[in-house]
Protein backbone atom coordinates (compact mmCIF):
# COMPACT_ATOMS: atom_id res chain seq x y z
CA UNK A 1 0.00 0.00 0.00
CA UNK A 2 1.39 3.41 -0.90
CA UNK A 3 0.39 6.58 0.85
CA UNK A 4 0.89 9.77 -1.11
CA UNK A 5 0.67 13.44 -0.18
CA UNK A 6 2.24 16.77 -1.11
CA UNK A 7 4.43 18.52 1.41
CA UNK A 8 7.54 20.69 1.63
CA UNK A 9 9.11 19.86 4.98
CA UNK A 10 9.00 16.46 6.63
CA UNK A 11 10.69 14.57 9.43
CA UNK A 12 11.90 11.01 8.86
CA UNK A 13 12.49 8.75 11.81
CA UNK A 14 14.00 5.29 11.59
CA UNK A 15 14.64 2.33 13.88
CA UNK A 16 12.87 3.26 17.11
CA UNK A 17 13.91 -0.05 18.72
CA UNK A 18 11.49 0.49 21.67
CA UNK A 19 13.20 3.77 22.59
CA UNK A 20 9.98 5.61 23.39
CA UNK A 21 11.90 8.27 25.33
CA UNK A 22 13.87 9.37 22.27
CA UNK A 23 10.76 9.10 20.11
CA UNK A 24 8.90 11.51 22.40
CA UNK A 25 11.70 14.08 22.17
CA UNK A 26 12.07 13.70 18.40
CA UNK A 27 8.35 14.17 17.75
CA UNK A 28 8.26 17.28 19.94
CA UNK A 29 11.32 18.70 18.22
CA UNK A 30 9.97 18.02 14.73
CA UNK A 31 6.62 19.65 15.51
CA UNK A 32 8.43 22.68 16.92
CA UNK A 33 10.24 22.97 13.60
CA UNK A 34 6.91 23.13 11.79
CA UNK A 35 7.06 19.93 9.75
CA UNK A 36 4.10 19.06 7.54
CA UNK A 37 4.33 15.39 8.42
CA UNK A 38 6.38 12.87 10.36
CA UNK A 39 7.24 9.52 8.79
CA UNK A 40 8.68 6.49 10.50
CA UNK A 41 10.64 4.15 8.24
CA UNK A 42 10.13 1.07 10.37
CA UNK A 43 11.58 -1.19 13.06
CA UNK A 44 9.57 0.00 16.05
CA UNK A 45 10.83 -2.84 18.24
CA UNK A 46 14.18 -4.36 19.39
CA UNK A 47 16.93 -3.47 21.80
CA UNK A 48 15.09 -1.29 24.35
CA UNK A 49 12.36 -1.76 27.01
CA UNK A 50 8.54 -1.65 27.00
CA UNK A 51 7.66 -2.08 23.29
CA UNK A 52 4.04 -1.05 23.75
CA UNK A 53 4.95 2.46 24.91
CA UNK A 54 5.94 3.36 21.34
CA UNK A 55 2.56 2.84 19.67
CA UNK A 56 0.42 5.46 21.50
CA UNK A 57 3.05 8.09 20.65
CA UNK A 58 2.94 7.15 16.96
CA UNK A 59 -0.83 7.29 16.81
CA UNK A 60 -1.35 10.37 19.06
CA UNK A 61 1.06 12.37 16.91
CA UNK A 62 -0.10 11.10 13.51
CA UNK A 63 3.25 9.56 12.62
CA UNK A 64 2.89 7.81 9.26
CA UNK A 65 4.62 4.46 9.50
CA UNK A 66 5.94 1.83 7.16
CA UNK A 67 6.96 -1.71 7.93
CA UNK A 68 10.53 -2.74 8.64
CA UNK A 69 11.82 -6.31 8.82
CA UNK A 70 11.34 -6.32 12.60
CA UNK A 71 7.75 -5.13 12.27
CA UNK A 72 7.04 -7.83 9.72
CA UNK A 73 8.44 -10.45 12.08
CA UNK A 74 6.63 -9.21 15.20
CA UNK A 75 3.40 -8.58 13.27
CA UNK A 76 3.43 -12.09 11.90
CA UNK A 77 4.85 -13.65 15.07
CA UNK A 78 7.80 -15.18 13.22
CA UNK A 79 10.68 -16.92 15.00
CA UNK A 80 13.30 -14.24 14.43
CA UNK A 81 13.79 -10.63 13.41
CA UNK A 82 15.09 -11.21 9.84
CA UNK A 83 17.74 -8.61 10.61
CA UNK A 84 20.27 -10.20 8.26
CA UNK A 85 23.07 -10.88 10.75
CA UNK A 86 25.56 -13.61 9.90
CA UNK A 87 27.65 -13.85 13.05
CA UNK A 88 26.56 -16.31 15.79
CA UNK A 89 27.18 -13.76 18.58
CA UNK A 90 25.17 -11.07 16.81
CA UNK A 91 22.35 -13.55 16.22
CA UNK A 92 22.46 -14.65 19.87
CA UNK A 93 21.86 -11.11 21.15
CA UNK A 94 19.37 -10.30 18.41
CA UNK A 95 17.32 -13.33 19.45
CA UNK A 96 17.20 -12.29 23.13
CA UNK A 97 15.97 -8.87 22.11
CA UNK A 98 13.47 -10.30 19.63
CA UNK A 99 11.97 -12.77 22.10
CA UNK A 100 11.56 -10.01 24.68
CA UNK A 101 9.95 -7.65 22.18
CA UNK A 102 7.55 -10.26 20.80
CA UNK A 103 6.51 -11.29 24.29
CA UNK A 104 5.82 -7.68 25.30
CA UNK A 105 4.03 -6.45 22.19
CA UNK A 106 0.24 -6.56 22.52
CA UNK A 107 -2.06 -8.28 20.06
CA UNK A 108 -3.34 -4.88 18.89
CA UNK A 109 0.18 -3.58 18.31
CA UNK A 110 1.11 -6.73 16.40
CA UNK A 111 -1.91 -6.26 14.19
CA UNK A 112 -0.86 -2.63 13.58
CA UNK A 113 2.63 -3.76 12.56
CA UNK A 114 1.32 -6.55 10.33
CA UNK A 115 -0.82 -4.15 8.33
CA UNK A 116 1.76 -1.46 7.66
CA UNK A 117 2.80 -0.69 4.07
CA UNK A 118 6.34 -1.62 3.04
CA UNK A 119 7.01 1.65 1.26
CA UNK A 120 5.51 5.11 0.93
CA UNK A 121 5.74 7.63 -1.90
CA UNK A 122 5.52 11.31 -1.03
CA UNK A 123 5.57 14.40 -3.23
CA UNK A 124 8.06 16.64 -1.48
CA UNK A 125 7.35 19.84 -3.41
CA UNK A 126 8.37 18.96 -6.97
CA UNK A 127 10.41 15.96 -5.82
CA UNK A 128 9.22 12.38 -5.86
CA UNK A 129 10.34 10.87 -2.59
CA UNK A 130 10.40 7.13 -1.96
CA UNK A 131 10.50 6.02 1.67
CA UNK A 132 11.46 2.45 2.45
CA UNK A 133 13.19 0.49 5.20
CA UNK A 134 16.36 -1.27 3.96
CA UNK A 135 16.43 -0.49 0.27
CA UNK A 136 13.84 -0.09 -2.47
CA UNK A 137 14.35 -3.72 -3.45
CA UNK A 138 14.75 -5.52 -0.14
CA UNK A 139 13.47 -4.74 3.33
CA UNK A 140 16.62 -5.95 5.11
CA UNK A 141 19.32 -4.85 2.70
CA UNK A 142 22.10 -2.93 4.46
CA UNK A 143 22.99 0.26 2.62
CA UNK A 144 26.18 1.48 4.26
CA UNK A 145 27.87 4.65 3.06
CA UNK A 146 31.17 2.85 2.43
CA UNK A 147 29.70 -0.01 0.39
CA UNK A 148 27.15 1.90 -1.69
CA UNK A 149 28.79 3.48 -4.77
CA UNK A 150 27.05 6.39 -6.44
CA UNK A 151 26.28 4.48 -9.63
CA UNK A 152 24.63 1.70 -7.60
CA UNK A 153 22.44 4.18 -5.70
CA UNK A 154 21.58 5.94 -8.96
CA UNK A 155 20.48 2.59 -10.36
CA UNK A 156 18.21 1.95 -7.35
CA UNK A 157 16.65 5.42 -7.53
CA UNK A 158 16.21 5.39 -11.31
CA UNK A 159 14.63 1.94 -11.24
CA UNK A 160 11.87 3.37 -9.05
CA UNK A 161 11.77 6.74 -10.78
CA UNK A 162 12.49 8.49 -7.47
CA UNK A 163 14.22 11.86 -7.06
CA UNK A 164 14.97 11.10 -3.44
CA UNK A 165 15.17 7.74 -1.70
CA UNK A 166 15.18 7.60 2.10
CA UNK A 167 16.08 4.43 4.01
CA UNK A 168 17.18 3.36 7.50
CA UNK A 169 18.00 -0.22 8.77
CA UNK A 170 21.79 0.10 9.24
CA UNK A 171 21.69 2.44 12.24
CA UNK A 172 24.12 4.97 10.76
CA UNK A 173 22.96 8.04 8.84
CA UNK A 174 24.38 9.46 5.61
CA UNK A 175 23.38 11.57 2.62
CA UNK A 176 24.66 11.22 -0.95
CA UNK A 177 23.79 13.72 -3.70
CA UNK A 178 23.72 11.84 -7.02
CA UNK A 179 23.68 12.56 -10.75
CA UNK A 180 20.51 14.02 -12.33
CA UNK A 181 19.72 15.88 -9.09
CA UNK A 182 18.86 12.68 -7.31
CA UNK A 183 19.59 12.05 -3.64
CA UNK A 184 19.90 9.05 -1.38
CA UNK A 185 19.54 9.47 2.37
CA UNK A 186 19.92 7.05 5.25
CA UNK A 187 17.92 8.79 7.96
CA UNK A 188 19.65 7.05 10.89
CA UNK A 189 17.84 5.59 13.90
CA UNK A 190 16.27 6.75 17.16
CA UNK A 191 16.80 3.44 18.91
CA UNK A 192 20.48 3.50 19.71
CA UNK A 193 23.45 5.81 19.28
CA UNK A 194 25.60 5.76 16.18
CA UNK A 195 28.70 3.94 17.40
CA UNK A 196 30.62 7.20 17.72
CA UNK A 197 30.94 7.52 21.49
CA UNK A 198 28.01 9.95 21.78
CA UNK A 199 24.81 9.01 23.57
CA UNK A 200 22.40 11.02 21.45
CA UNK A 201 20.45 9.56 18.55
CA UNK A 202 19.31 11.06 15.26
CA UNK A 203 16.38 11.83 13.01
CA UNK A 204 16.33 13.62 9.66
CA UNK A 205 14.54 16.65 8.23
CA UNK A 206 13.92 16.83 4.49
CA UNK A 207 12.92 20.20 3.12
CA UNK A 208 12.40 21.69 -0.31
CA UNK A 209 12.16 25.35 -1.28
CA UNK A 210 12.59 27.57 -4.32
CA UNK A 211 16.13 28.39 -3.17
CA UNK A 212 17.23 24.87 -2.29
CA UNK A 213 15.59 21.94 -4.12
CA UNK A 214 16.49 19.57 -1.28
CA UNK A 215 17.88 20.36 2.13
CA UNK A 216 18.83 17.39 4.30
CA UNK A 217 19.37 18.14 7.97
CA UNK A 218 20.37 15.50 10.50
CA UNK A 219 19.00 16.41 13.92
CA UNK A 220 20.61 15.09 17.12
CA UNK A 221 18.11 13.94 19.75
CA UNK A 222 19.21 14.32 23.35
CA UNK A 223 17.02 12.22 25.63
CA UNK A 224 17.18 10.73 29.11
CA UNK A 225 19.41 7.77 28.32
CA UNK A 226 20.09 7.20 32.02
CA UNK A 227 16.40 6.46 32.46
CA UNK A 228 16.36 4.21 29.40
CA UNK A 229 19.36 2.27 30.72
CA UNK A 230 17.68 1.92 34.13
CA UNK A 231 14.48 0.63 32.59
CA UNK A 232 16.42 -1.79 30.38
CA UNK A 233 18.14 -3.15 33.47
CA UNK A 234 14.82 -3.54 35.27
CA UNK A 235 13.46 -5.49 32.32
CA UNK A 236 16.43 -7.88 32.31
CA UNK A 237 17.76 -6.70 28.97
CA UNK A 238 21.42 -7.75 28.44
CA UNK A 239 24.15 -5.55 29.89
CA UNK A 240 25.77 -5.35 26.43
CA UNK A 241 22.79 -3.34 25.13
CA UNK A 242 22.75 -1.10 28.18
CA UNK A 243 26.45 -0.38 27.72
CA UNK A 244 25.74 0.87 24.18
CA UNK A 245 23.09 3.28 25.45
CA UNK A 246 25.43 4.57 28.15
CA UNK A 247 28.64 4.83 26.14
CA UNK A 248 27.52 5.43 22.56
CA UNK A 249 29.61 2.49 21.31
CA UNK A 250 28.06 -0.58 19.73
CA UNK A 251 28.84 -3.82 21.52
CA UNK A 252 26.75 -6.12 19.31
CA UNK A 253 25.80 -6.27 15.60
CA UNK A 254 29.44 -5.48 14.84
CA UNK A 255 30.13 -8.16 12.26
CA UNK A 256 27.78 -6.66 9.68
CA UNK A 257 29.78 -3.42 9.61
CA UNK A 258 32.05 -2.84 6.61
CA UNK A 259 35.67 -1.96 7.33
CA UNK A 260 35.31 1.81 7.32
CA UNK A 261 32.28 1.88 9.62
CA UNK A 262 33.80 -0.73 11.90
CA UNK A 263 36.99 1.29 12.31
CA UNK A 264 35.00 4.28 13.51
CA UNK A 265 33.75 2.34 16.53
CA UNK A 266 35.55 1.22 19.63
CA UNK A 267 34.88 -2.55 19.40
Amino acid sequence: MIHSSTTSRIACLGGIYNNYLALEVAIRDARKRGVDAIYCLGDMGAFGPHPDRVFPLLSDHDVICLQGNYDHSIGNELNDCQCGYTDPRDNYFAQISYDYTLQNTSVESRQFLRDLPTEICVDLGPLRLLLCHGSPRRVNEFLWASTSPNHFLEHLAAERDADVVAVTHTGIKWHRPLADNRHFVNVGVLGRPENDGNQHVWYTLLETSSVDPLRVKFVPVEYDYHRLAREMGNEGIPAEFIETVQTGWWTTCLEILPAKERKQGRW
Partner: protein
Protein backbone atom coordinates in the same frame (compact mmCIF):
# COMPACT_ATOMS: atom_id res chain seq x y z
CA UNK B 1 17.63 -36.46 -8.25
CA UNK B 2 16.06 -38.72 -10.85
CA UNK B 3 17.00 -38.31 -14.51
CA UNK B 4 13.50 -37.03 -15.19
CA UNK B 5 13.92 -34.05 -12.88
CA UNK B 6 14.59 -30.81 -14.66
CA UNK B 7 17.73 -28.88 -13.70
CA UNK B 8 16.59 -25.53 -12.33
CA UNK B 9 17.93 -22.26 -13.72
CA UNK B 10 18.63 -19.07 -11.85
CA UNK B 11 18.32 -15.64 -13.40
CA UNK B 12 20.63 -12.87 -12.33
CA UNK B 13 18.43 -10.14 -10.84
CA UNK B 14 21.16 -7.51 -10.91
CA UNK B 15 24.96 -7.48 -11.10
CA UNK B 16 25.66 -6.53 -7.48
CA UNK B 17 29.04 -8.21 -7.08
CA UNK B 18 31.61 -8.03 -9.86
CA UNK B 19 34.53 -10.41 -9.34
CA UNK B 20 37.93 -10.44 -11.03
CA UNK B 21 40.08 -13.59 -11.31
CA UNK B 22 42.92 -11.17 -11.18
CA UNK B 23 45.93 -13.48 -10.90
CA UNK B 24 44.41 -16.38 -12.78
CA UNK B 25 45.27 -19.71 -11.15
CA UNK B 26 48.78 -18.65 -10.10
CA UNK B 27 49.47 -18.93 -6.40
CA UNK B 28 52.60 -19.11 -4.27
CA UNK B 29 50.94 -21.87 -2.23
CA UNK B 30 49.54 -25.24 -3.30
CA UNK B 31 46.72 -25.88 -0.85
CA UNK B 32 45.35 -29.39 -0.78
CA UNK B 33 41.75 -28.23 -0.66
CA UNK B 34 41.88 -25.51 -3.34
CA UNK B 35 38.71 -25.75 -5.40
CA UNK B 36 40.53 -24.60 -8.56
CA UNK B 37 43.88 -26.27 -7.77
CA UNK B 38 45.94 -23.07 -7.83
CA UNK B 39 49.73 -23.38 -7.62
CA UNK B 40 52.93 -21.67 -8.80
CA UNK B 41 52.72 -23.73 -12.01
CA UNK B 42 49.00 -23.65 -12.76
CA UNK B 43 48.55 -21.40 -15.80
CA UNK B 44 45.05 -22.62 -16.69
CA UNK B 45 43.91 -19.03 -16.21
CA UNK B 46 46.22 -16.05 -16.69
CA UNK B 47 46.48 -12.62 -15.15
CA UNK B 48 44.11 -9.82 -16.06
CA UNK B 49 45.80 -6.52 -16.90
CA UNK B 50 45.26 -3.18 -15.23
CA UNK B 51 43.69 -2.03 -18.48
CA UNK B 52 41.28 -5.04 -18.48
CA UNK B 53 40.16 -4.00 -15.02
CA UNK B 54 39.86 -0.32 -15.92
CA UNK B 55 37.66 -1.17 -18.91
CA UNK B 56 35.39 -3.42 -16.84
CA UNK B 57 35.15 -0.85 -14.04
CA UNK B 58 34.07 1.77 -16.54
CA UNK B 59 31.45 -0.62 -17.96
CA UNK B 60 30.22 -1.43 -14.46
CA UNK B 61 29.08 2.14 -13.84
CA UNK B 62 26.20 1.92 -16.31
CA UNK B 63 25.27 -1.45 -14.82
CA UNK B 64 25.03 -0.06 -11.29
CA UNK B 65 27.43 -2.59 -9.75
CA UNK B 66 27.56 -2.48 -5.96
CA UNK B 67 30.86 -4.12 -4.96
CA UNK B 68 34.12 -5.34 -6.53
CA UNK B 69 35.95 -8.50 -5.44
CA UNK B 70 39.43 -9.71 -6.44
CA UNK B 71 40.55 -13.31 -6.18
CA UNK B 72 43.04 -15.80 -7.65
CA UNK B 73 45.34 -17.58 -7.17
CA UNK B 74 47.08 -15.13 -4.95
CA UNK B 75 46.13 -11.61 -6.07
CA UNK B 76 49.33 -10.06 -4.69
CA UNK B 77 51.40 -12.11 -7.14
CA UNK B 78 50.01 -9.65 -9.69
CA UNK B 79 52.53 -6.85 -10.19
CA UNK B 80 49.81 -4.26 -10.61
CA UNK B 81 47.59 -5.36 -7.72
CA UNK B 82 48.17 -2.18 -5.75
CA UNK B 83 47.30 0.22 -8.63
CA UNK B 84 44.32 -2.02 -9.49
CA UNK B 85 42.91 -1.66 -5.97
CA UNK B 86 43.66 2.06 -5.89
CA UNK B 87 41.81 2.47 -9.19
CA UNK B 88 38.87 0.37 -7.99
CA UNK B 89 38.43 2.49 -4.86
CA UNK B 90 37.61 5.40 -7.16
CA UNK B 91 34.53 3.46 -8.28
CA UNK B 92 33.32 1.64 -5.20
CA UNK B 93 34.14 -0.76 -2.36
CA UNK B 94 36.85 -3.33 -3.05
CA UNK B 95 37.55 -6.68 -1.40
CA UNK B 96 40.67 -8.73 -2.02
CA UNK B 97 40.96 -12.42 -1.10
CA UNK B 98 44.57 -13.20 -0.18
CA UNK B 99 46.63 -15.78 1.66
CA UNK B 100 48.40 -12.91 3.44
CA UNK B 101 51.89 -14.38 3.04
CA UNK B 102 53.58 -11.96 0.62
CA UNK B 103 52.66 -8.43 1.67
CA UNK B 104 55.21 -5.65 1.36
CA UNK B 105 55.04 -2.67 3.68
CA UNK B 106 55.20 -0.30 0.74
CA UNK B 107 52.06 -1.83 -0.79
CA UNK B 108 50.10 -1.66 2.43
CA UNK B 109 51.17 1.95 2.99
CA UNK B 110 49.87 2.93 -0.43
CA UNK B 111 46.62 1.01 0.05
CA UNK B 112 46.07 2.49 3.47
CA UNK B 113 46.35 6.01 2.03
CA UNK B 114 44.05 5.10 -0.86
CA UNK B 115 41.38 3.80 1.48
CA UNK B 116 41.54 6.90 3.68
CA UNK B 117 41.11 9.10 0.60
CA UNK B 118 38.25 6.99 -0.79
CA UNK B 119 34.62 7.08 0.37
CA UNK B 120 34.61 3.31 0.10
CA UNK B 121 35.82 0.38 2.17
CA UNK B 122 38.80 -1.74 1.24
CA UNK B 123 38.40 -5.20 2.72
CA UNK B 124 41.15 -7.81 3.03
CA UNK B 125 39.98 -11.39 3.41
CA UNK B 126 42.88 -13.50 4.61
CA UNK B 127 42.50 -17.27 4.18
CA UNK B 128 43.72 -19.77 6.67
CA UNK B 129 42.42 -23.28 7.08
CA UNK B 130 42.86 -24.19 10.65
CA UNK B 131 43.31 -22.10 13.73
CA UNK B 132 46.76 -23.50 14.55
CA UNK B 133 49.88 -24.62 12.63
CA UNK B 134 48.87 -28.21 13.43
CA UNK B 135 45.53 -27.86 11.65
CA UNK B 136 46.40 -25.27 9.00
CA UNK B 137 49.80 -26.32 7.70
CA UNK B 138 48.89 -29.85 6.56
CA UNK B 139 46.35 -28.17 4.24
CA UNK B 140 48.16 -25.01 3.13
CA UNK B 141 51.84 -25.95 3.49
CA UNK B 142 54.58 -25.92 6.10
CA UNK B 143 54.99 -22.61 7.89
CA UNK B 144 51.97 -20.99 6.25
CA UNK B 145 50.07 -20.46 9.51
CA UNK B 146 52.84 -18.30 10.96
CA UNK B 147 53.31 -16.47 7.66
CA UNK B 148 49.60 -15.70 7.38
CA UNK B 149 49.48 -14.57 11.00
CA UNK B 150 52.39 -12.22 10.29
CA UNK B 151 50.46 -10.84 7.29
CA UNK B 152 47.38 -10.28 9.45
CA UNK B 153 49.45 -8.36 12.00
CA UNK B 154 51.01 -6.31 9.18
CA UNK B 155 47.53 -5.38 7.93
CA UNK B 156 46.47 -4.34 11.42
CA UNK B 157 49.58 -2.18 11.76
CA UNK B 158 48.51 -0.32 8.62
CA UNK B 159 45.05 0.29 10.05
CA UNK B 160 43.13 -2.49 8.32
CA UNK B 161 40.69 -4.87 10.01
CA UNK B 162 41.08 -8.03 7.91
CA UNK B 163 38.33 -10.64 7.74
CA UNK B 164 39.90 -14.02 8.48
CA UNK B 165 38.26 -16.73 6.44
CA UNK B 166 38.63 -20.40 7.27
CA UNK B 167 37.16 -23.49 5.71
CA UNK B 168 35.28 -25.48 8.34
CA UNK B 169 37.31 -28.61 9.05
CA UNK B 170 36.08 -29.33 12.54
CA UNK B 171 32.87 -30.92 13.85
CA UNK B 172 29.92 -28.50 14.08
CA UNK B 173 29.57 -29.00 17.81
CA UNK B 174 33.15 -27.79 18.37
CA UNK B 175 32.77 -24.60 16.35
CA UNK B 176 32.26 -22.18 19.22
CA UNK B 177 35.27 -23.52 21.07
CA UNK B 178 37.51 -23.61 17.98
CA UNK B 179 36.62 -20.07 16.91
CA UNK B 180 37.02 -18.72 20.46
CA UNK B 181 40.51 -20.23 20.69
CA UNK B 182 41.48 -18.59 17.43
CA UNK B 183 40.08 -15.22 18.44
CA UNK B 184 42.24 -15.43 21.58
CA UNK B 185 45.28 -16.24 19.49
CA UNK B 186 44.68 -13.28 17.18
CA UNK B 187 44.21 -10.96 20.12
CA UNK B 188 47.47 -12.16 21.63
CA UNK B 189 49.15 -11.43 18.30
CA UNK B 190 47.93 -7.83 18.33
CA UNK B 191 44.64 -8.03 16.40
CA UNK B 192 42.30 -6.74 19.10
CA UNK B 193 38.96 -7.04 17.29
CA UNK B 194 39.22 -9.90 14.82
CA UNK B 195 36.56 -10.49 12.19
CA UNK B 196 35.96 -14.09 11.18
CA UNK B 197 34.09 -15.72 8.28
CA UNK B 198 33.70 -19.50 8.23
CA UNK B 199 33.33 -21.17 4.84
CA UNK B 200 32.03 -24.59 3.87
CA UNK B 201 34.26 -27.07 2.02
CA UNK B 202 33.80 -27.16 -1.74
CA UNK B 203 34.39 -30.65 -3.15
CA UNK B 204 36.08 -29.48 -6.33
CA UNK B 205 39.64 -29.23 -7.67
CA UNK B 206 42.46 -30.38 -5.37
CA UNK B 207 39.98 -31.06 -2.56
CA UNK B 208 38.63 -34.10 -4.45
CA UNK B 209 42.06 -35.77 -4.13
CA UNK B 210 42.10 -35.53 -0.36
CA UNK B 211 38.41 -36.21 0.36
CA UNK B 212 35.79 -36.96 -2.28
CA UNK B 213 33.75 -35.36 -5.01
CA UNK B 214 30.05 -34.60 -4.82
CA UNK B 215 27.65 -37.52 -4.80
CA UNK B 216 25.25 -37.39 -7.77
CA UNK B 217 22.35 -36.87 -5.37
CA UNK B 218 23.96 -33.65 -4.10
CA UNK B 219 22.30 -31.43 -6.65
CA UNK B 220 19.78 -28.60 -6.44
CA UNK B 221 16.34 -29.57 -7.75
CA UNK B 222 13.45 -27.39 -8.87
CA UNK B 223 11.53 -28.51 -5.80
CA UNK B 224 14.30 -27.29 -3.52
CA UNK B 225 14.06 -23.84 -5.06
CA UNK B 226 10.37 -23.36 -4.31
CA UNK B 227 10.04 -20.91 -1.40
CA UNK B 228 13.84 -20.54 -1.35
CA UNK B 229 15.37 -17.07 -1.26
CA UNK B 230 17.41 -17.20 -4.47
CA UNK B 231 19.36 -14.08 -3.53
CA UNK B 232 21.38 -16.47 -1.33
CA UNK B 233 22.91 -17.95 -4.48
CA UNK B 234 26.05 -16.29 -5.81
CA UNK B 235 24.91 -16.59 -9.44
CA UNK B 236 21.75 -14.60 -8.65
CA UNK B 237 23.75 -11.38 -8.19
CA UNK B 238 27.38 -11.98 -9.29
CA UNK B 239 29.62 -12.62 -12.27
CA UNK B 240 33.41 -13.03 -12.57
CA UNK B 241 35.81 -11.78 -15.22
CA UNK B 242 38.74 -14.06 -16.14
CA UNK B 243 41.21 -13.86 -19.02
CA UNK B 244 38.74 -15.98 -21.00
CA UNK B 245 35.62 -13.86 -20.53
CA UNK B 246 32.75 -13.55 -18.09
CA UNK B 247 31.84 -16.59 -15.99
CA UNK B 248 28.89 -17.31 -13.80
CA UNK B 249 30.62 -17.37 -10.39
CA UNK B 250 34.07 -17.55 -8.78
CA UNK B 251 33.65 -21.18 -7.75
CA UNK B 252 32.93 -22.79 -11.11
CA UNK B 253 35.39 -21.10 -13.49
CA UNK B 254 36.97 -24.43 -14.45
CA UNK B 255 33.64 -25.84 -15.66
CA UNK B 256 33.28 -25.16 -19.39
CA UNK B 257 29.60 -24.25 -19.00
CA UNK B 258 30.50 -21.46 -16.57
CA UNK B 259 31.83 -19.23 -19.35
CA UNK B 260 28.79 -17.22 -20.39
CA UNK B 261 30.34 -14.86 -22.95
CA UNK B 262 32.76 -12.03 -23.46
CA UNK B 263 30.47 -9.18 -22.49
CA UNK B 264 28.41 -8.52 -19.39
CA UNK B 265 25.36 -8.43 -21.62
CA UNK B 266 26.01 -11.99 -22.83
CA UNK B 267 26.63 -13.07 -19.26
CA UNK B 268 23.17 -12.12 -18.02
CA UNK B 269 21.84 -15.40 -19.35
CA UNK B 270 20.18 -17.65 -16.71
CA UNK B 271 22.39 -20.39 -15.34
CA UNK B 272 21.47 -24.04 -14.74
CA UNK B 273 22.43 -25.29 -11.26
CA UNK B 274 23.89 -28.56 -12.52
CA UNK B 275 26.96 -28.77 -10.26
CA UNK B 276 27.57 -30.23 -6.85
CA UNK B 277 29.06 -26.90 -5.75
CA UNK B 278 25.68 -25.29 -6.45
CA UNK B 279 24.34 -27.60 -3.75
CA UNK B 280 26.90 -26.24 -1.24
CA UNK B 281 26.04 -22.69 -2.26
CA UNK B 282 22.33 -23.52 -1.78
CA UNK B 283 22.94 -25.14 1.60
CA UNK B 284 24.98 -22.36 3.17
CA UNK B 285 23.98 -19.20 1.28
CA UNK B 286 26.01 -16.03 0.70
CA UNK B 287 29.22 -18.04 0.79
CA UNK B 288 31.25 -15.61 -1.30
CA UNK B 289 30.08 -12.18 -0.11
CA UNK B 290 31.24 -10.15 2.87
CA UNK B 291 29.08 -10.19 6.03
CA UNK B 292 28.26 -6.48 5.48
CA UNK B 293 26.52 -7.33 2.21
CA UNK B 294 25.09 -10.71 3.12
CA UNK B 295 21.74 -11.27 1.47
Amino acid sequence: MTCKEEIPSVEMSHLDHLWFQISGTFCNLTCHHCFISCSPQNDTFGHLTLQNVKDRLEESVALGVKEYYFTGGEPFLHREMVPILVETLRYGPATVLTNGTIFKDEWLGTLSEAEIESSYSLEFRVSIDGFSPETNDPVRGKGTFQRALKGIVQLVEYGFLPIITAVRNWPDDQEQEVVAAFVDRLKQSGYSRPRIKILPTLYLGAETNRSHTYHPTERVTSGMLSDYDQTQLVCEHSRIVTDRGVHVCPILIESPDSLLGQSFQQATTPYQLRHGACYTCYQYGSICSNPSSAK
